[in-house]
Amino acid sequence: MAAAAGGLSYFLPAAYTAFQATGQTVDFPSPSPSSLLFSPSPSASASAAPVGAFTVLLLGSDDDSKFQGGNLLTQSMILVRIVPSTKSVTMLSIPRDLWAPLASGGMGKMDWAYSYGGARGAIATVQADFGVHINDYIWIGLAGLIRVIDAIGGIDVVTSNPVLDDYYPQDINTKSPWGYARIAVLPGPQHLNGTQALQYVRSRHNDLQSDFGRSRRQQQVLLAIREKSHQLSPEDIPPLAQALSGEVKTSISLTRVPALVALATSFDNPDAIHQIVLASPYTHGGAPDGSLWPVWGAILPLVHQYFP
């Protein structure tokens, strides 16, 4: 009994934090009719869907001191399709500047969807525009990403090129969040801590592909986090939960977390991981407010191929 009490006191803070972060109640909107409208053969797709496959919407926000009242934009929106039977994963980055119908009404940039309607608004917008069904969502703030990566002891990445930014937002742990910093993430195989990893995935000024280049780097870091999770043990959960406190929200219930972690670590074939970025010819510039026009005729067949 004493041992149980000791164990309970070890895991209790983690459980409390996890209960707060997980199982967020979101009234998931049903897939929009557009999925039926655009899908070449909706019934065939549905029947071909592997058993147990599910789709998660990953949302990453600038939860820095520039924003008040929780009206956060999502700098990163990644649809992740996980098929346990084939151990395959597909990651599709949705450009934050995509000009599309918003679930809250009217047209706007994709990153406004979360700002106007929270997780439900973002999910509803993505479901309606892309004709996919989203099973769950995970939201993480900037500080949360830093803390997660630091809590797992950093990640190993082959950074693609020198990521140099003279006007990188200096908006975390500062009294003047509108300032700029200079960053230089040098290229090559290396071990990144949380701050360095955030710089790598967040910088976009010196990338000719701007948000698309950044999306590729974000997917790269997600895979590196997954790789590192192989080394974690159940006893690592309390420090991880402490790191994530208040920085992560998800609709995934606590009871499903262990199975999902085990599932994620069982995927070991890099060739079964598909990474998709909606650059040209799926989008092109010239939309209002410097945003991107979607080419739905190209996007939807691609989406339905990987997100049936």
Partner: protein, 376 residues
Amino acid sequence: MIPLLPKIALGAFLAVLMAVVGVSTYVYLGTRQSKVAAPAQLPTAAQPSPNAFRLPGTMILEQDGALFSLSAGRFHQLTGRAGWMQPSFTPGGNVLAVKQTGYYSDVWMLNRFGKKIRQLTNNAAPPRSYDTGDNHWAFYPRMTADGRTIFLSYDSPKFGYEVDLSIWAMPAGGNLRQGKVWTDEYDSPGYTGGDLQPIPVPGGVMFTRYDRTAEGGIISQVWFTSRAGTFGRAVTTPDEDCREPSLSPDGHSLAMICTYQKQVSNLVIAQYSNGRITGRQAVITNQLVAQPTWAPDGSGIAYLAPALAAAPFQLWFIPRAAYVKPSPSPAPSASAGASPVASPSPVPSPSPLVIKPIQITVNNGFDAVSTIAWAN
């Protein structure tokens, strides 16, 4: 019936026992945490074992913004944790190194004990500037064999958001204003990060160029150029995605890292002559390898790589025998009537000796984008 006093004693004993078991369980669970988040050990913390493998000469590496020397199997800390990185030895035995702050980085000359001799660049923005873009980066300084010129990567010129590094050369006794840009960022499409890590070689300089593929991705290639302002030529192909070149002491071999556009890296060696390479040989293929550096006596190659997947980088050494094949023994002369197809030998030939890399450090966390300096 248990008398009252023993009952109290038993109760107290059980309470203490429960507390001990509870606390022990808590502590035990804490000890079962994986060590993934444990901070890297200072290189100087490890006591050298008398039987440990010892590298020749003196090596300088960077961990967490401090420079450490490794000589005769023992680490010494040369500088404080102040953004020091990318050391290289000068022909005279001093050390060129970069000191990086939040906004800029400068090249310094230190003596081999880490004492500052001279600041070679001054890349901070003017005192009254409010534009972060007025600062500059200088990285990867390397002095030529004659001691007269220092090559480095420098982010000038730059325009607005476009910050790309170019290869510059400056007089060793002068400053960057007297320097000359060798590779112009306009040679490449721009917005890739530019040209990095120059190494002076006879007749020119080799460096890594970050370039854009037709599909929009970014790859790295090793380039050679013989004169300032000339376009130069690619030494490796875009598909190889190679970087971090290192020339052997005899000047006949080039070691480099090639990723083939994947999240793995391979240590590749090639024969080198006059700015061209031939005959690639992948020496390490199963680790995330970085910064290959030749031993000054040619006895092998040091590099950085994690010992476990996704862990901090350690120092490794691969002996020359692992990648230089022994000269073949004279082939037996073919006897008359012998079949041209080799017949099975009745005596099994000895299996070739496999020489594995040697892990030099265990719990450190060396910066894998910082060079390794190594000299006699």
